[in-house]
């Protein structure tokens, strides 16, 4: 009964590959996010979706494409993976225009 669940927890892949990370929330929230925690440990927002509509796109490369089939799901697809994509990716959800969010446990992506 995890509130925000994301899979996989670990992802090791080669440069140039395409991979996806899935996220689901059962809190009834209408807004979902993807954050990236880089090597300096900053959590930076990448995307946010409200009721399946893109609200925020923080100048993320086009190789990253979020997809929200419904308001409970926000998946992240990454094409042509690069070494610099190695990071921990967190999915989160909240009610629209509130900052209090629930986070998933993260996906550790390692690009070799």
């Amino acid at each position: 009964d995890t509130a925000v669940s994301q899979t996989p927890k670990y992802l090791v892949t080669q440069m140039g590959n395409d991979k996806s990370i899935k996220c689901e929330q059962n809190l009834g929230h209408d807004t979902m996010y993807w954050y990236k925690q880089d090597s300096k440990k900053f959590l930076k927002i990448m995307f946010s979706y409200n009721n399946k509509e893109l609200i925020i796109n923080e100048t993320v490369p086009n190789r990253f494409s979020p997809k929200s089939p419904d308001k409970a799901h926000l998946n992240l697809h990454i094409n042509s993976l690069e070494l610099g994509d190695s990071a921990v990716y967190f999915c989160a959800s909240s009610q629209f225009l509130t900052g209090i969010g629930a986070f998933g446990s993260g996906t550790q992506l390692s690009v070799l």
């Binding site: 925000v4 300096k40 440990k41 900053f42 959590l43 930076k44 927002i45 946010s48 609200i55 925020i56 923080e58 967190f90 989160a92 225009l97 900052g99 209090i100 969010g101 629930a102 986070f103 998933g104 446990s105 993260g106």
Partner: protein
Amino acid sequence: DQQVKQNSPSLSVQEGRISILNCDYTNSMFDYFLWYKKYPAEGPTFLISISSIKDKNEDGRFTVFLNKSAKHLSLHIVPSQPGDSAVYFCAAWNGNKLVFGAGTILRVKS
């Protein structure tokens, strides 16, 4: 453009004492501030928040203070417990997104 700064990467405190974690911000448009706590291999969890119209908010052992003129906020944990050992992130809300600091690792020694 680091809008939210946590200048202390780590803090070590004895059990029972007060832990004070600090955070500075640069953007005066932020109207809501939050603290998140993160254990290893888990996502951040919401701890406490404060609106920009207040200067203090208390929840049990946790109190957040906001000094708007100094663009500074702090989280006080009294008394500190070993289970409080975690990474604490300060975050600021600008109306549509959270901006996080780099976090402070708190170690509470028993």
